[in-house]
Symmetry: C5
Amino acid sequence: MLSTTHSQLTRNGKSIILAHDHGLEHGPTKFEGVRERLDPETVFEMATHDAVTGFAVGKGLAETYYPSHEDDVNLLAKLNGGSSLWMGEPDSAVNWSVEYAAELGADAVGFTVYPGSNHELEMAEEFRDVQETAREHDLPVAMWSYPRGQGIKDHRKPEVIAYATRIALELGADIAKVKYPRSAEAMQWAVDAAGDCRVVLSGGAKTGDHEFLSTVETAMDAGAAGLAVGRNVWQHDDPTYILDALEQVVFEEATATEALDT
Amino acid sequence: MLSTTHSQLTRNGKSIILAHDHGLEHGPTKFEGVRERLDPETVFEMATHDAVTGFAVGKGLAETYYPSHEDDVNLLAKLNGGSSLWMGEPDSAVNWSVEYAAELGADAVGFTVYPGSNHELEMAEEFRDVQETAREHDLPVAMWSYPRGQGIKDHRKPEVIAYATRIALELGADIAKVKYPRSAEAMQWAVDAAGDCRVVLSGGAKTGDHEFLSTVETAMDAGAAGLAVGRNVWQHDDPTYILDALEQVVFEEATATEALDT
Amino acid sequence: MLSTTHSQLTRNGKSIILAHDHGLEHGPTKFEGVRERLDPETVFEMATHDAVTGFAVGKGLAETYYPSHEDDVNLLAKLNGGSSLWMGEPDSAVNWSVEYAAELGADAVGFTVYPGSNHELEMAEEFRDVQETAREHDLPVAMWSYPRGQGIKDHRKPEVIAYATRIALELGADIAKVKYPRSAEAMQWAVDAAGDCRVVLSGGAKTGDHEFLSTVETAMDAGAAGLAVGRNVWQHDDPTYILDALEQVVFEEATATEALDT
Amino acid sequence: MLSTTHSQLTRNGKSIILAHDHGLEHGPTKFEGVRERLDPETVFEMATHDAVTGFAVGKGLAETYYPSHEDDVNLLAKLNGGSSLWMGEPDSAVNWSVEYAAELGADAVGFTVYPGSNHELEMAEEFRDVQETAREHDLPVAMWSYPRGQGIKDHRKPEVIAYATRIALELGADIAKVKYPRSAEAMQWAVDAAGDCRVVLSGGAKTGDHEFLSTVETAMDAGAAGLAVGRNVWQHDDPTYILDALEQVVFEEATATEALDT
Amino acid sequence: MLSTTHSQLTRNGKSIILAHDHGLEHGPTKFEGVRERLDPETVFEMATHDAVTGFAVGKGLAETYYPSHEDDVNLLAKLNGGSSLWMGEPDSAVNWSVEYAAELGADAVGFTVYPGSNHELEMAEEFRDVQETAREHDLPVAMWSYPRGQGIKDHRKPEVIAYATRIALELGADIAKVKYPRSAEAMQWAVDAAGDCRVVLSGGAKTGDHEFLSTVETAMDAGAAGLAVGRNVWQHDDPTYILDALEQVVFEEATATEALDT
């Protein structure tokens, strides 16, 4: 684990990562109601918000739109991913090399591992290569640690999420992105199991502002080092508004209610 | 995504790519009625037409016939393909390396990916290697993005074709070749989903001239950047005639009727 | 496709390739009645006949017996093969590298591809590596294009054999070796489908001299560029006699009857 | 086999290896009752005990916590492992390269092989690469030789454990870690079968102190070269106490009773 | 095929190879009755007998015990092997590289191929890499050619054993080790099918001295170039006695009876 304290990915050890790999992972139907945001330029704009410490996108979006945002966006190169048209046991394709991401100016790399899938071991070995190459380029590594597949009945169970963060620590991730395990206590367990590896909350599907920010607040209180949010921002009517609120909850210890009232 | 604005593959950002990989993909029975065109020299001749901005063929045809057409044909090296004798889940063999294509003088490379096939992830990773090597040779990359296989019930559904163009953008293609999604509205959605990646229409099986050109007209109006056409030209009685008409519809904004009347 | 006009493998663009990979492909039971020919030296002797423009053998025979025949035999390194003890879907092992064959002094390389087998795509990619490395060593490449496996009901059907030669052309072979498609017309179709790639007839199992030579004669008339013959020579009572006759039919346009009478 | 006599991993040819790969292999539920030991720093502290000749951990823990313990801990880099969420036939992912471990300052490497699993041959070949690279870095190699999977009905049977140590010797391990085969006689057989390869006992699940130390005593009397212990130390109420006792049994030939009384 | 006439592996073109890979292939239960021979040092001693022209062992035994026998044992590095705990279709793991064997001072390498197994093609390609690398190190290559697996009903049938030796010749082996095909005539056929590749008899399971030596005598008379013997020597009460007898039968054309009487 590299210390990310001084990386651009964090502000005082905390992170708000805006994730926008949904075009590949879920497809255009996810843009219903926000059709204009099919244009990645609109979401790159959101990523210039001060609160966003890292913007996670795939190769195509990075290649095409990042060059004109190099000064106001920290690029987190999301290296693997796959479409939801694919029906196999949970797995992802490695869509770009660390070298290519570094060449493009990435500030960090991200990689999904599905513990419990029949492909867990292959993905761990892909993560090994990514992680060790990232070290050569001094790039922090975030693991999307998503227990999924044949071995997993309920992927949000407390022991499953705690195991997910521990796997991230054990395999050499600097940041572990995990789903919310439904309680503060379970989130605390997940943070403890990760040792010095920073745990960030996965924002998940779009919910109401207060519900969303309350979950973030609880996770921060349980020791999370921030969150990686996607749809709750880029599907939001007013992305700047919700990012302003997130900034207070994540970096300024505000409660959800306080953040929404300002 | 590399900008293809100044590549030989486009004229004012638009492309007419003549594709002739049918010998491998479908076999000699596709040449019924045009038996003499089994001789690739005859189709290379068609590709010298001014309207054709790129000629997509496999390694064998490129090696054998392109050297005598270097000055009047832009070679798009179609890197993967497979015969229809093969009965597996949709997949393709990578039949030549980018290096070999570049050595032969290719102006661009083309690669088929079948989203939704059990082989989607392997093909995406093959595309990764092709795409990153093509960048080293400054070669634009066209993705034949054809949703096919176990995950696909209807490969021309609007959301499936929009997903196909988005996958091409996300994986780093410069041009996305997709089937016509049956309506202008769906074609518009597909173009929007592709962001800055240029969407070209796949010409598909031979149809009547007016029907064919009307589809092209509609696609162009919906924002397509041209088409990649095969059988509707090299199976045509008078290839020059249909290429003249295409030139007007694609580059001069003529309607199908106008193009056919001149 | 490299022009083989000036390669040692052809005499005025025509070839008689003696093939002797049967020891590996079919085993010692094929030597019944010609037990002494188990000794490869005896078959190397046959290959010194003037009519033989290339001798196709595997690595072991080439390593052991070719050094003492470098001056009077053109070595065609048959790179892949497998025993008939193996019961899987048609496939072959790649038993030596192009580099090793070139080092040994090979004048050309040969490679089997089984279009229609579940392994077609893997074999095409193995052929890609062989073909591109052979180009670096200026070695012509002959493809044994044998449609076989799950996708093939009748491997000698006219459209199947025409597809087989087209596949050879499309993948970059210089010579396509195919089975006789049962008629002159079908052979003509196969030759046309191959474009500039030379089609040679596979000699197949031992038959009567006149029947064998008549097939060769018909194939030549249909535009074949010669044949690759095995058992009809090395299982023959008098190999020199049959090679003399073949020489006339292939290089001197004699009929089967004329060749057998002299 | 490299002689480990002079390696830091042994004291007078004997070893007490503290193993802590349970976070990855078994997950956070194994830390019940010792929740604070989820923090790897607490277990690194235990490893500074004089009796511990090697501390076996995975990449993440080594990267994060070993740098501050370089002077008082000998790092045994446990190269492969996998989570218990994974339901496949016994196998492990190779999570870091020998080069990376050597760069980090490892004093030895460890690798699990599951003889009898359908993946035995793949794991043996992974072990080959690890073992030959470790030789280049003068790093002793410990094999966790755990017969498991389709071929194994009872993984502690005497002939199975003796086979496990022989496999370690035959494949080039310097140390073989095996489960206790339920009797002194069977342990003797296992030690004999290993020739000069040192056999260390796997500590296994937490048991009572006297039961645990008696097993160690018996194994040492049967010729074992020490043990690799995990849960019987880091799950212990007083790790220093049990390590003191182990030190006497392993290095000073004390009986279990003597060691517990002091 | 490299000529092994002048290699240390043969005396006047004949070989007695002592094989001791049983520890890995069959496990410690094979040492019943000769428990002390679990110590490989005892079997290395046997290999110093003048009659032994090569001693075939795996990496672990070679690494550990060969350095102290470099002057009195010719090391044949048995590169692949696997335990009998493994229940898959016949296959072997490649346990050390040719480079590593050459570095250790090997005089030759050995490799098992199971023709007829579903893994035949993979093993042939592993043999290719081993064989071509061995050539770079001037190391003769012995193939254990053991037809086994789904395609083999009776692995000792005359045509199967003749095919086994032919496969060894065809793939580039210098020595073919095969099971005895139950008759002198069948052995003759196997020798003929191998051309210049030397055929050595596999000693097989322990039998009575006269029965064993008679089989060797018959094989030698049928043209075998010696034998590779394991259990009939290292399980023997008096290994020196049986090696003395073998020396006479293999190198001095003695009959079994003569050899046993002296």
